[in-house]
Amino acid sequence: MTTKLFGEPVRRREDDRLITGRGRYLDDLGEGALAAAFVRSPHAHARILDIDVSDAIDVEGLVAIYTWEDLPGALAEPLPLLIPHPALTHGRTAYPLAREIVRHVGEPVVMVVARDRYLAEDACALIRVDYEILKPVVGIEEAVRGVHLVHEDVPGNVGAHLVQEVAGPGGVTAREAIDAAPHTLEFRLDIERSACTPLEGKGVYARWDADDESLRVYSSTQTSTSVRMAIAAKLGLPLPKVEVIAPDVGGGFGVKIVHPWPEEVLVPWAARLLGREVKWTEDRREHFVSSSHERGQVQHVRAGFDDEGRVLGLDVEILHDHGAYTPYGIIVPIITSTQLLGPYKVGAYRVEFSSIYTNTVQVTPYRGAGRPQGVYCMERTMDRIAAHLGRDRTEVRAANFIQPDEFPYDQGLTFQDGRPLIYDSGDYPEALRLLKELIGWDSFPEERARAAAEGRRIGIGVGCYVEGTGVGPYEGGHVQVTSDGRVHVSTGLTSQGQGHETVFAQIAATELGVPIEKVSVVTGDTRRFGYAVGTFASRAAVMSGNAIALACRKVREKALRIAAEALEADPRDLEITDGMVHVAGVPSASIPLATVAVLSNPLRYAFDEEARRATQFAASGSDDRPPVAEGEEPGLEGRDYYSPIRSTFAAGMHAAIVETDPDTAEIRILRYAVVHDCGRLINPMIVEGQIHGGVAQGVGGALYEKMAYDEHGQLLNASFMDFLMPYATEVPHIETAHLETPSPLNPLGIKGAGEAGVIPVSAVIASAVEDAEGITITRMPISPSDLYALRQDR
């Protein structure tokens, strides 16, 4: 088998276990462990007056009941604020179990541990919590009125306020540019909450080893290394005594990057205290009311532009609903406000956001992480400008594009990683050309006329985005070749279905010149790699992919050096092909990589055939040199890190054709086209899969999904019966085309792809529905009844 695997649609190596029922997800582990369950607040805002457990203690199989009062030391403190920011003047986080006040329905109040989950829930049902109900704050408008407060000490419910301003030519401000522009528009946009809703909820399983005084924790997380550090700190354990493993994880999409979740510290704490294995598996309702949501924003837009539609000034004010707590800081509105500009250069830009508390589930990144809202804002603006000028929507976009010869392009803003927002590469005019060709943009008027002749109403929409991917600070990779010729690759970040075992093996096999069958990959296991950031922000392939490539290059260099000595050749003349190191062009002068691995270690007990074979190459060594030379290490292994100077910017453009039913206002997507540029593709099959999944989530967010809170802060649709995730019947066939503009920033020339698919979908569907109906769309998602109401108002 060829070892050039980079760029090939290699079948996934994780599939065999997952299609035969041999995957190991969180709840598949720890048979016989005690089960934890939680009493959660039924109120959006209330004071806890009393917790009465007397009826619960008789439940068969009950082991323990804990409230905040029982938590020791650091565990009794609020959970960490992971990403502080100077603009986040009033950051607040929850306690692992509520202390005095609950601030959203679903907040954990009591933890119960019992023999199994049924019994633990029996006990939960018998625990009586008396509450004094406080006035809930629900909805952005209600919150900014500031009459009632989510946190008593946060005036106006404003957690953070940030302004970024980029002056235009001659130092003109955005507001000045708008006032002086030939045309101006001003409007408001709304976008609702949705949520990641991975098919597997969260879960934690902990076992305490009393003999070793160590803790092993499995968590369905997107960052095992950081969960580990949080547990060590909260439980006061030495870091080396804690290991955290992300097993097979049934989807993440952002919600599992938050850490530590209350359960991630409570379950290990209980396991240690009880000396028993304890497991908690989140159920679907718990996930809806106690994990994170995202997307809810109100945007006020002012734009000034010229006759060509070029934006001279753009002024955006964003009200961002971050729910009851801010454990993840203000990453989401920062991304919205900085990625809003997309592939465009605007004359001058001012963006201001307020991040607002409400008595609802906290808001943390969900796939796209603020970008869908930003792109929605910018693309609605482009469509408005086109409508105002009577120009083609793609023409207006093209008039504003950054051109291919303008990279690197500095947007003048500070990005989520605190670094300048400088785009590394891209070709936006070409992407738009491809997209128009793919969807048949120019021939659409005839298509519309044909449909109209049949009494059908169709419309076409478009949306463009740029996505900062591969944010730092770093990831690492470790690569070890053992004496059986196998290559063991590990990296600290985790996997939730992205196919890392496959793509990282492709990279290692290509770099080292070994068959992929010889390569195994471990992710998210702190026993194998302790330093990592995590899987989010479309960063895994860029960060760990490059780190693994660099680690492989170290191993390769060492292998060639050792082989050169054995073969009495110049290392520069050597190549590795199919696991054999050989002199280029002379296949007979060769040595297996396995044998090189044996030679790399001066201690050579003949445990296996390779070690025995290696003796023929064994150099006697010089008596005046130590067996392991200075600066050397035994073994054929390498570790390296990739730490980018800044993010790399992927881009894409989507178009859709929709049909709206003249009677029922049903919205159907007839065609959906995607042009996507994430630099060099490692595995095109996997990248396409990521795009399909992203678009499907985008379709959900555009047409079906929203968190329906009532005025009391009750989530009315906290089940799959009522929260309408798309089935196969709701997702259109997705047509894709790829552009490969390599990133100049990293050795592999790659950019991230994980979030891309979801980003412009709400913008595209709004554009298409607007085109079909001739009604300005300002609120997303849009349901048939929403559209029907808009028609009535016309």
């Binding site: 299609i19 098919l199 597997e200 999409f253 939730q496 997702v731 066939h733």
Partner: protein
Amino acid sequence: MNETRHHVTLTVNGVVREATVPGRRLLSDCLRHDLGLTGTHVGCEHGVCGACTVLLDGEPVRSCLTFAVTADGHEITTVEGLARDGGLSPVQRAFTERHALQCGFCTPGFLCTVTAFLRDNPVPTEEEALEAVAGNLCRCTGYQNILKAVHRAAELQAEEGR
């Protein structure tokens, strides 16, 4: 309080298995936690997502909406029982060939559903294939490759039958 427990005998993947369970024990929990067959997954516990789908006497059912005691004496096939003679079934092969899974959590439910569907309808139209998988939720794939896999599985099944 002690719950009344019931003895159930199930034939799971061709093997007779026994368990003693409370009346409220869900079939999904019985398979997963009493019998150790954790390939069947639970995604919602209210019968909407279909991840827990198993075949009860050959027909797809939501094991999270089925009490274990009601399956007493019946035959059950789970994802662990789909492989034949040590090799992957056509449906399993098609899912990996067409990249019809990502995180894999919903996959066992799709595999069981599609297996029963293609047994009854070995040459489905596009429309029929779409209808067949439209009762199962997947949050990763966008379904496009799942639909491709249904047709690929039909092809593989036909080749095997030859």
